[in-house]
Amino acid sequence: MPIPLPNPLAEAREALQQRVLRAVADRSPLRLVGGGTQAGLVRASAGEPLALSVLNGLIAYEPSELVITAGAGTPLSVLSATLADQGQMLPFEPALAGGQATLGGAVAAQRGGPRRWLAGSVRDFLLGVRLIDGLGQEVGFGGQVIKNVAGFDITRLQAGAWGSLGLITEVSVKVLPRPQAECTLQFAMAQAEALQQVNAWAGQPLPLSAVSWDQGILRLRLSGVPAALASACATLGGQALENDAAEAHWTSLRERTHPFFEQGGTLWRLAVKPTSPVLDLPGAVLWEWGGGQRWLRTEAPAELVRRSAERAGGHAMLWRGGESGVPVFHPPAAALAALQRRIKHALDPHGIFNPGTPDFL
């Protein structure tokens, strides 16, 4: 049987619902605040701040179902520790931000770390959400089972919507067993060769779980049963990294505390087709996810960065800095922008939640 827990959030949810109903009546917008770790990206949001940290608590967890349900304000560090006790993990390896990052925030901002490369993103593991919609109604979509095709997928629509489509109160996510073992290999390799090599490896049945490249060094993490890692390492070559150093490296990417991010200047996140060749842009690069997520420190004009990302099959988000007036989010094509405004209207007709985020709405 599932661990029967009284829903610790009923009261908090009720209070938030009353607050939203008041906002709807007054037509006064709200700015939803989780752990506040993404504040830099929602800088355009107007509205009165509404703290969601009250939605903190585990609601249900049954390891054999591979599902955990918790309040949206639950710190990811708490969830990760609970899962680790049962030998499980959040497969998308989100940043914990020293205990500040919350489950709802990870969903809204679609946050994933090194393992997101081949394991999948938050949306891939999202099974259900409960929301307070833009009319102040409590609604639920999806559930706690892995296969569920009843109705439109309003659940996954919340991933990466930055809270603009509802106040998420509860989240159910699929979890996975932790790998028995991990090891990290490193290779001295120029960027172009590294992009080529990593995608060639990814096309083979190898137990890969993370990759990064910066300053001429490619690092590759493998996860799985020890015997499989040993044989894969023998095939791949390279130099094995000490466990502590490896752990520190992947943590610094997950938390974005790697020295690359500590240096000042304008920082862009480009999501591009992983096999795209080296981008013709000035500045310093660090990439992850097989070349799919490329971090770029550059003072190149925003237009140049965005066109370059588009040509590489993707988009660019202004992560930090930049000239004033440059939108944070990559503007979608006109037809898609119009469609997204209509979807926003369907879930939040009075524009109560996070007006101005994403900034193309």
Partner: protein
């Protein structure tokens, strides 16, 4: 069979056949517009043949421009349009509308691009699921979602239904294996959702379109993610003398930290029917059979199968067999794959139910189901995706016998309600279509249905795409007495009801 209600008649009107046909002939070659009764007959139903309807006209566009032209005609004339892949759906999703156009995407059947290095394939919607894996096999790649209908169903239909397969416990559903989709809105606007990049700018419209059952847009191009073919695959066949113990074994495998590539269950009647049909050498005295598959490198498979055997034996398996070679592995699967036709030999008709429950309730729900079936005098056979908790009870009946199907429908509805009651859902992979439109009123309250209708209106304000499917209009639920009105208020007062 119940009368199928479609959207209010104001949403769709029936222009006279001549005007509609003339408008379509204007934009399509003559042979691509079917008006003869005989020519339209094959399109009357999908795989759920109990629900049938003659469309006003059938069109067979051959490329995206023709699809666009058809949609523009329907939009201009206010005519309903139903997209159809290869018609294997099991919920009546592609059942035509009597006042509209049935558009088959079958002629858009080309593989446009295979990018082996990026591990993607870009294909037209009418390409069959299995044809993708066949086309990329020389590169050592495959497309993971494998519905049992994969030799026949289209990738466009898979996107519309978010189809699963026996390997989706480990590799995910259709939604997890898509990169990007090109689709047309009712007014002919082209949209591209998803991206070759790990994520796309803006809302996740790719997830929203997946599983939308042809209500939001017509899919004209699909880019799928391909995976490297595993080097080693092995299957285990475990017998149990009791379904409860087999259900517990399923939960224990997952709890032990194992995610098998496949984890399927067949109950005693299914096992015996399959054995009689294909002679897979199944143990016919077993009350439940589990087929567990492991894939990966040789080391991974050796480790995982050893751990699975230990869990199965501890859970009380009376026998655990390992496939010794590829031929034996395929033999283990042969019975499972032929289970539906095998059951088809037991009775003139059967009704396949689709619902999902938490794994831990497998044993108790199956025993409840046997008891209800006996009380109602219906024979039930179970063969299903146990690892996902996705049930497929097959209810046997004889359509020629008065009252037989009615009893079957009673049990079917009870089973779906049970799925919801234990924390599951009314459909795991076959979709809502027309079949489960009423059950939607059980699973969702008025506010939730209102949001579905709002999203529908954001894509298709006149309700012309596949009307009457997947999402019930609110007055339908109200008339059924199943509407949950929340806080005394109906949402979206602008939407049609009462």
């Amino acid at each position: 069979m119940g009368h199928i209600e479609s959207l209010p008649s104001s949403a769709t009107r029936k222009p006279d056949d001549a005007a509609l046909v003339a408008a379509l002939r204007n934009v399509l070659p003559h042979a691509a517009v079917l008006t003869e009764t005989e020519a339209r007959r094959p399109y009357e139903s999908d795989g759920l043949s109990a629900y049938r309807q003659q469309p006003q006209v059938v069109v067979l566009p051959a490329n995206e421009a023709e699809v666009q032209a058809v949609l523009q005609v329907c939009h201009r004339l206010g005519v309903a349009v139903v997209a159809r892949g290869h018609g294997t759906g099991l919920s009546g999703g592609a059942m035509p509308n009597e006042r509209g156009v049935l558009m088959s995407l079958a002629r858009l059947n080309r593989i446009l691009e295979i990018d082996a290095h990026a591990r993607t394939a870009r294909v037209q919607p009418g390409v069959r699921n299995l044809a993708i894996s066949e086309a990329v096999a020389p590169q050592g790649l495959y497309y993971a979602p494998d519905p049992s209908s994969q030799i026949a169903c289209s990738i466009g239909g898979n996107v519309a239904e978010n189809s699963g397969g026996v390997h989706c416990l480990k590799y995910g559903l259709t939604v997890h294996n898509l990169v990007k989709v090109r689709a047309l809105l009712i007014d002919g606007t082209v949209i591209e959702v998803g991206a070759d990049a790990p994520d796309a700018a803006g809302f996740d419209l790719l997830a929203l379109l997946t599983g939308s059952e042809g209500l939001l847009a017509v899919v004209t191009e699909v880019t799928v993610r391909l995976l490297p073919r595993p080097r080693t695959v092995q299957a285990l066949l475990a017998s149990f003398d009791d379904v409860e113990r087999a259900g517990q074994a399923v939960a224990n495998i997952i709890a032990a930290g194992i995610i098998p590539a496949g984890l399927e269950m067949m109950d005693g009647p299914a096992t015996r029917a399959a054995e009689a049909f294909v002679h897979a050498n199944y143990p016919v005295d077993a009350e439940a059979l589990l087929i567990c598959e492991s894939d990966g490198t040789a080391e991974e498979v050796a480790d995982e199968t050893a751990r699975m055997r230990a869990v199965l034996e501890a859970a009380g398996a009376t026998e655990v067999r390992f496939s010794r070679d590829e031929a034996e592995r395929l033999k283990f699967w042969a019975g499972r794959k032929a289970a539906f036709p095998a059951v088809g030999r037991l009775a003139p008709d059967y009704y396949c139910i689709d619902g999902t429950i938490p794994r831990r309730t497998l044993g108790s729900v199956l025993n409840w189901m046997y008891a209800r079936a006996e009380a109602l005098g219906v024979q039930v056979v179970n063969v299903f995706h146990a690892g996902d908790g996705n049930l497929h009870p097959l209810l046997l009946f004889d359509a020629a016998k008065a009252g037989d199907f009615a009893r079957t429908e009673v049990l079917a509805n009870e089973i779906l309600a049970k799925c919801v009651e234990v924390g599951g859902t009314i459909t795991g992979e076959h979709g809502v279509g027309v079949e489960k439109i009423d059950a939607m009123c059980v699973q969702f309250n008025a506010a939730e249905l209102g949001i579905f209708l709002g999203v529908k209106a954001a894509f298709d304000p006149d309700g012309l795409m596949n009307p009457g499917k997947a999402v019930p209009v609110l007055h339908r639920c109200a008339e059924l007495g199943r509407m949950h009105v929340h806080h005394g208020a109906l949402p979206h007062p602008d939407l049609p009801r009462f």
